[in-house]
Amino acid sequence: MFENFTPVSALGGGVLIGVAAAVMLWLSGRVMGVSGIAGGLLRPAGGDTGWRLAFVIGLVTAPLIGMAVTGSFPPVELDVGLGTIVVGGLLVGFGTRFGGGCTSGHGICGIGRLSARSIAATGIFMAVAGVTVYVTRHLLA
């Protein structure tokens, strides 16, 4: 039971994510939603790209610093075919923008604001993801 559960690192990493969201809001007044921040880079609105790009650079840099400390990049394991990866990527990119947020914007910042929209969105994407995993990895496997 729960042989893959890593409670300490999960809670510790979660706290850091919460601090990041709080810092962003407290200092810059922005909600830390990754899909909105990254998606906004594709919208050529002048003067708005600098901080978005900086956020993405910080996000990409962090695991590389981890690599410098531990000697290897943290494990990134995908066990599906290339076709599924492409379809999944398209759905995640379009869906998060169409639904106005992802795991960070709705799941953490939105629930943190007790927003009914974000609580609904998080319930929906969690439930659909869970059903998708059940169908693809149990019913069809």
């Binding site: 962003m24 981890g66 599906v80 990527g89």
Partner: protein, 147 residues
């Protein structure tokens, strides 16, 4: 200028949190979503840890009023649960369940330079670009921005 440094720092802290909690690894996320398999509750604790900080922090920040380096807080004001929210979130959930990547980890994993991870990132950006194209065509009126 300060907002650029703030974003850089917040992005870095967020990436560090994803790295420490192993959420950059889709296998770890699938382990959480796979309730009927060898269930791994870790992702729930990541969210709990983040909310333990952000729930009270949000209340304090809103009570203080304006942020330190910007004229006002930019917080979504919409309250209605509309079709776009439901359909978009369901679409996202489908893609998330298929692969195990959501946007934050997909970007953070770019440095691994793994073909699979970079392919997902490229497809995700393409999906976002499709949204921008449709949004530009369909909404002549000002677009409503949420979180």
């Amino acid at each position: 200028m300060p907002t650029i440094l703030v974003a850089l720092g917040a992005g870095f802290l967020f990436g560090l949190g994803l790295t420490i909690s192993q959420m950059v690894n889709p296998a770890k996320v699938i382990g959480f979503l796979d309730i009927a398999g060898r269930w791994d509750p870790s992702l729930a604790l990541v969210m709990a840890g983040a909310l333990a900080v952000f729930l009270p922090a949000y209340r304090i920040i809103v009570k203080r009023g304006a942020p330190l380096f910007a004229p006002a807080l930019l917080i979504p004001t919409r309250r209605d649960i509309d079709g776009r929210l439901v359909a978009g979130s369901a679409t996202f959930g489908l893609g998330w369940g298929l692969v195990g990547f959501c946007p934050g980890p997909a970007i953070a994993a770019a440095g691994s330079l793994q073909t699979d991870a970079l392919t997902f990132l490229g497809a995700m950006i393409a999906g976002m670009a499709v949204y921008e194209a449709i949004d530009r065509l369909s909404t002549r009126r000002p677009a409503s921005q949420a979180g």
